[in-house]
């Protein structure tokens, strides 16, 4: 019998992180919270990570629908946008006029696609002209897919992870794709220039034309529809000698233009409520606003002290940690139950239990944070493993994690080893510190990428020579014997019965002449029978060699 008064939690935003938080709370304490979710999109929750797969035609749109929260104390309002937070009386008001009192409010409002302020990009009503899209919502993905039908040519502006995924996906649909990127290196947040060059070759191999060091300066519109984009050299870059040779100023014709040049955290609601915002909503390590311990922010809208990379694993990890914190507030205690109205400062400053073995439920889904690491810098909060980036670009395999790209290894404590094989489209760098993999870049070798990810997220000890991490290490094996002559006597021919070449030779030597006789004597072939051919061959060879070399009298 639960006599606790449920804690009222209002979650603003029903994207991947908001819905995850609800899930994490319910898994732990299905009865302890009254949860209201306000989601501005009218759809059921969907997996935003897979929108680029939708564009690429790699997934059925229906297959990206995520589970709905399952709980008697959860109410999800879809198509309802929160418009204000009254922190004084602890009420969220929504655009449908409804009001939602809270004990804790969690902002998971996400981020909007950034659209650069260039001519032609805004129509009179402030929207985008037909044919121009971001790739942030299900609507975006659907519209892009629809547009591919009548657009033989497409331009993707922005060579980050999403831009690469979109470019390769559209190329895979048979479109002629140009990728415009503002600096020389693609994915410059994750890749160093050498790795980026290998990725660029890979992209070009997929039929994508890459224009580095270029800015889109104008979208050309005809009849309300985009027909092309004007591309210029990025003057900063050219003047610093970082790339482009000439004065580029050209128009790329395309009826489909996708902007993937970053996101802008949705901070409006928080700012209007008088909460600190910077790039995102400022929160502490405990994911609570420094201005109000009852307001939390997670996911793309949040700006925790250790920064945000916009990866879903990071948002899910925040959801897990915040759920732990909220649950800890309602945990039954032997002492008088902590009333909901207790001044919460002391509680909120508590960090997740250091070193405690997480419960099964806690670990559920906290897959990328399997390790027990904690960096000194983030005051005991384990975020390792949430920064693994895997580009979903079909045959082009790009994976980065930890120390990579511009965050160069610290030469004093970290050891970097690399394998550069650009002709084969392969580039691998591993960074090792204290016997543990702390970072890696892997282009063009999915097998190694998978192994590196496992080693990185689990902190398994690396080989004495980190160079072994660059390949799938195999033992030297003897080449398969080309003839029975070269088989060692102890080579097992029949596994099921442990029969070696020596046993068979012995059997032949001691009078067995036919395969049947050898089988009867040694039991070779009498298990699964897979070795039948080998045994027959061996007996034949033994017979021949016996005839060829007459036994000494």
């Amino acid at each position: 019998m639960n006599l606790r008064v449920p804690v009222k939690v209002v979650v603003v935003g029903f994207g991947m992180v908001g819905s995850r938080l609800v899930d994490e709370l319910l898994r732990r304490e299905p009865e302890a919270f009254d949860i209201t979710v306000l989601g501005s999109e009218p759809y059921e929750p969907y997996n935003r990570v897979l929108l680029s797969d939708v564009v690429a035609g790699r997934t059925d749109v229906a297959a990206i629908t995520m589970p709905l929260p399952d709980g008697a104390r959860v109410s999800v309002l879809r198509g309802v946008t929160a418009t204000s937070i009254d922190r004084e009386s602890r009420v969220v008001t929504a655009d449908d006029g409804s009001t939602h009192p809270y004990d804790h409010v969690v902002l998971a409002t996400g981020a909007a696609a950034r659209i650069p302020p260039i001519p032609g990009l805004r129509t009179a009503d402030g929207g985008l002209p037909a044919g121009v899209h971001a790739l942030r919502t299900l609507d975006d993905a659907r519209e892009i897919v629809a547009a591919t039908v009548n657009s033989p040519r497409a331009v993707v502006v922005g060579g980050g992870v999403l831009g690469l995924e979109a470019a390769v996906g559209l190329a895979g649909r048979g479109l002629s794709v140009t990728l415009v990127h503002n600096v020389q290196s693609l994915m410059e947040r994750q890749l160093d220039p050498e790795a980026a060059a290998v990725v660029r070759s890979g992209l070009e191999g997929q039929g994508v034309t890459v224009l580095p060091n270029c800015l889109s300066s104008e979208v050309l519109v005809a009849g309300g529809r985009a027909v092309g984009i004007r591309v210029k050299d990025n003057a900063d870059r050219v003047s610093t000698g970082d790339g482009g040779s000439g004065q580029r100023d050209e128009v790329v014709a395309a009826r489909l233009i996708i902007f993937s040049v970053g996101t802008i955290p949705e901070t409006g609601l928080a700012a209007a409520a008088g909460l600190s915002t910077d790039r995102g909503i400022v929160v502490g390590y405990d994911l609570a606003s420094p201005d109000d311990p009852r307001v939390h922010a997670i996911g793309d809208c949040a700006q925790p002290p250790n920064g945000s990379r916009g990866l879903v694993a990071e948002g899910w990890d925040q959801a897990r940690r915040l759920a732990e914190t909220l649950v800890s507030l309602v945990e039954p205690v032997n002492a008088p139950v902590e009333p909901v109205g207790t001044p919460a400062e002391t509680v909120h400053l508590r960090l997740p239990h250091d070193g405690a073995q997480p419960s099964m439920a806690v670990r559920l889904g906290a897959l990328l944070t399997g390790g027990a690491s904690r960096a000194q810098s983030d005051r005991g909060i384990d975020t390792r493993g949430t920064d693994v980036v895997k580009v979903k670009a079909g045959p082009l395999s790009v994976t980065t994690m930890g120390v990579c790209g511009p965050s160069r290894p610290n030469g004093l404590t970290q050891r970097a080893v690399r394998l550069a094989d650009p002709r084969a489209g392969r580039y691998i760098e591993v960074v090792v510190s204290d016997g543990i993999l702390v970072g890696a870049t892997c282009v063009g070798d999915p097998r190694v990428a998978a192994d590196l990810t496992a080693a990185y997220t689990r902190r398994t000890p690396v080989p004495m020579d980190p160079a072994f991490l660059l390949l799938t290490p195999v033992m030297q094996t003897a080449a398969p014997a080309s003839s029975p002559e070269h088989m060692p006597d102890d080579a097992v021919v029949c596994r099921c019965n442990g029969v070696t070449k020596g046993h068979i030779a012995e059997s032949c030597g001691s009078g067995a002449h036919t395969v049947e006789e050898v089988v009867r004597e040694t039991r070779a072939t009498t298990g699964c029978g897979s070795c039948k051919d080998a045994v027959c061959g061996l007996v034949d060879w033994l017979k021949e060699s016996k005839e060829a070399v007459p036994e000494p009298a």
Binding site: Y46, N47, V49, L50, D53, R58, T59, D60, A62, A63, T65, M66, P67, L68, M360, R363, L364, G365, L367, L368, G370, A372, G385, V388, K390, K392, P395, S397, P446, R447, A449, A450, T453, A454, A455, T457, R458, R459, T460, P461, V462, P463, M464, F468, P473, V474, M475, T477, A479, P480, R495, C496, N497, G498, R523, T526, G527, C528, G529, S530
Partner: protein, 770 residues
């Protein structure tokens, strides 16, 4: 009873659930000499036998065979006594404990190697004579997760709901956590079709003998399949990823899902978050390999015009704290592809122990009554109580599952006595040190065995029993086929069947006359058949005589359910199977689910599950995974196979497989002694370098006792639904075993104490530096 000398008798191998057909010929010399073994053509082994089977007769005459009851005497040693003395002692101690502490103070532990008749009698004895709820068996260690998953999804649990030979026609077989090339080698024959089609997919962290069947790149031959090598404990993520791809790429059998399942929408949503790249991050299986395998399976599915596909699970994925969830995910994948209930396709669990299937049907499970009935189902209690001639009210309720039962032994509220039948817990139970500690804390431990197993050696009373070729009975193979085990030789010394022992104990414990414990296996079977009537595993149409007649006439074999009269059968079981009209007998059910599943609405239940990960995850101090498994030459705890010279010669000692990269890292050369340490214990064995294991994982087979007994290290964390322990993955540290001090001849090295101190210090220093 015994066949005449020189006559071949058809029986089956004593070891695994494949129950290979063999014929046994009693030598003309004397009745107890070992019979000659010859393989025979039988659908599971098709004339094949592995080395264990060929040499199985050697176990009958091992030199340390138990031939007389033993009781621990004043000296502390086990001493021979008469049967009367031993049974009187056991009965009086059991009666005394029950009188003082209640009936639940006596526990019973059964085994999946016992015949159906013995398993049935044991359950009946516990519930009616001892009246204890505390009976479970070692099948909890092997089949419980598969059973829970299948019961939940299909409403019935028959490991393979189709004949094994059906696999032969499949275009693809997905094998998860099964190393059948090592554990039941003749079964490999049934994979030939899938291999020829390039469709054998094996999911195993190791490149096992079975994985090698998928092809060896170094041979230059075309691949016969695919190996997925997930990080230990992440098979469930792989399955969720495979289903994700099937749905994302529109490969599911929509019509089948619509007509034959419920719960699909929840399951579909639950895998939306398991896209291949995320699965790769969790499992270490590259995303494109997942896609490739999902497509390969789908192409083989009937809905896409394929020749058929099977999803099969083994202990590797089931012996896990998420074992039931993993089985459920396997079933979900199979259902999404429209496989179960279609001829030539399906889902199955590969049962391990000889009678691992029958052993879970007749009432030696904590929550179960004969016929695979639930002990908490009033109708089931009433039916079984009527067969037994007791008041349903007197039947106890569900008891503790194995691991919890073992943990409770000798505790203030736990059992004080235990009877062990056909199980060598000291070696085969997880977290063995705790098990040994608990067994030692008992007031009375009685072990029935035919050799002095490690567990028998701990007992207060050891009772010698018959084995295999010395007894009559039935077994139920991995495909649900009920088969006959036949006596060929006389038991040695005073060894007696458990049926006799239970009857004698029942009598001594004052069981009423009408509470019968017959000792003729055929009679026991008839009662078992009546008790099973109407249950999910219905044997009521079977008898020893019918089984014998079917075999003699070269019949196709009899698969349960085989109800006595078709009309009596619950229609969820066997709809669509027509009785053989000429005989009026039910023909048995080779294939289940043709038209409906054994659920109330006839539809298979799809249940959403999620990946959690292992209970004992790698961490600083225990940074490597340990996986355990088997070798071809040994069976389970090795109580039988270590006593066969031909097998012992080939694999004489325990070993640890580790990758050379790990060997270099920790300073353990190939062939050196290596130590594995977990938070539960440590174990030492010889290191074998191989690249067949991942560098983050070591492998050790579990067939040994003592310092090489890996179950001292494994965890006894259990699956919340099935109670199955997580044998297959735990976190360990891997270190060299410090070299022992050279043994120094006393006459030349009479060290002064100060010198010895120096040397010890030097050794400690050396240990620290390694």
């Amino acid at each position: 009873m015994l066949a005449s000398p020189g006559t071949a008798v058809d029986s089956h191998c004593p070891y695994c659930a494949l129950q290979c057909g063999m014929s046994l010929t009693r030598p003309r010399t004397d009745a107890t000499a070992a019979p000659e073994v010859q393989p025979r053509d039988f659908p599971t082994n098709r004339g094949g036998l592995c080395q264990k089977g060929w040499t199985s007769a050697a176990v009958l005459g091992v030199s340390d065979r138990l031939v007389t009851p033993l009781v621990r005497g004043e000296s502390g040693e086990l001493e021979p006594v008469s049967w009367d003395a031993a049974l009187d002692l056991v009965a009086s101690r059991l009666a005394g404990l029950a009188a003082e502490h209640g009936p639940e103070s006596v526990a019973v532990f059964g085994g999946g190697g016992l015949t159906n008749e013995k398993a049935y009698a044991l359950g009946k004895f516990a519930r009616t004579v001892l009246r204890t709820p505390n009976i479970d068996y070692n099948g909890r260690f092997c089949m419980a997760s598969a059973a829970a998953g299948m019961n939940r999804a299909f409403g019935v649990d028959r490991g393979l709901p189709f004949p094994l030979a059906d696999l032969g026609g499949a275009q693809a077989v997905l094998l998860l956590g099964s190393n059948l090339a090592e554990t039941m080698p003749p079964a490999v024959q049934h994979l030939a079709g899938a291999r020829a089609a390039g469709g054998l997919v094996v999911v195993d962290p190791r490149r096992s003998a079975t994985v090698r069947l998928t092809g060896d790149p170094s041979t230059g031959q075309p691949a016969e399949g695919v190996h997925l090598a997930p990080v230990p404990g992440t098979d469930l993520a792989v399955l969720l990823g495979l289903l994700h791809v099937v749905l994302a790429e529109g490969l599911a059998d929509r019509e089948y899902l619509e007509q034959r399942t419920t719960g699909f929408d929840d399951v579909a949503r639950s895998v939306a978050g398991w896209w291949p790249e995320r699965v790769e991050s969790v499992s270490g299986v590259p995303a494109d390999e997942l896609r490739r395998v999902a497509r390969l399976l789908a192409a083989a599915a009937p809905v896409h015009g394929g020749a058929g596909a099977y999803v099969l699970t083994g202990r590797g994925v089931e012996q896990s704290t998420q074992g039931t969830a993993t089985v459920t995910a396997s079933i979900n994948l199979a259902l999404a592809l429209g496989l179960p209930g279609r001829v030539g396709s399906g889902y199955g669990a590969i049962t391990g122990q000889g009678n691992g299937q029958g052993g879970r049907e007749h009432g030696q499970k904590a929550d179960q009554l004969p016929g695979y009935r639930k002990i908490d189902d009033p109708a089931a209690r009433e039916h079984v109580a009527a067969v037994w001639g007791v008041d349903p009210e007197t039947l106890p309720g569900p008891g503790l599952p194995a691991v919890q039962l073992l943990r409770s032994l000798g505790t203030p509220t736990g059992p004080r006595a235990m009877l062990v039948h056909g199980s060598n817990l000291v070696v085969s139970a997880p977290n063995a040190n705790r098990v040994i500690d608990r067994l030692k804390s008992l007031d009375l431990l009685v072990v029935c065995d035919f050799v002095p197993s490690e567990t028998a050696l701990l007992a207060d009373v050891v009772l010698p029993v018959t084995q295999w070729a010395e007894e009559e009975g039935t077994m139920t193979s991995l495909e649900g086929r009920v088969i006959r085990r036949r006596a060929v030789v006389a038991p040695p010394g005073e060894a007696r069947s458990e049926l006799w022992i239970l009857a004698e104990l029942a009598r001594r414990l004052g069981a009423p006359e009408d509470l019968a414990f017959p000792t003729d296996p055929a009679v026991v079977f008839d009662e078992l058949a009546r008790a099973s009537a109407g249950g999910p595993a219905d044997y009521s149409g079977l008898s020893h005589a019918r089984l014998d007649a079917d075999e003699a006439s070269g019949g196709p074999g009899l698969f349960w359910p085989v109800p006595a009269l078709p009309s009596e059968v619950s229609d969820t079981q066997v709809t669509g199977v027509t009785p053989a009209s000429d005989t009026g007998e039910h023909p048995g059910t080779p294939r289940l689910f043709a038209d409906r599943f054994a659920t109330p609405d006839g539809r298979a239940r799809m249940v959403a599950v999620d990946h959690v990960g292992p209970s004992d995850e790698v961490r600083p101090g225990a940074p490597f995974y340990l996986v355990t498994g088997r070798v071809l030459q040994h069976y389970q705890s090795g109580a039988q196979t270590h006593r066969v010279a031909e097998l012992e010669r080939l694999v004489a000692e325990p070993y640890v497989e580790l990758h050379p990269v790990l060997g270099f890292r920790i300073g353990v050369p190939d062939g050196a002694r290596v130590r594995l340490t977990s938070s539960r214990g440590q174990v030492e064995a010889t290191a074998r370098w191989t690249d067949a294991v991942r560098p983050d994982t070591v492998f050790m087979p579990f067939h040994w006792s003592g310092i090489g007994s890996v179950n001292q290290v494994t965890t006894d964390a259990t699956d919340p639904i099935s109670g199955m322990p997580e044998f297959k993955v735990c976190a360990v540290d891997v270190t060299p075993v410090p070299a022992a001090l050279p043994v120094e001849p006393v006459e030349t090295h009479l060290d002064r104490p100060d010198q010895r101190g120096e040397r010890d210090a030097a050794r400690r220093k050396k240990e620290l530096s390694t």
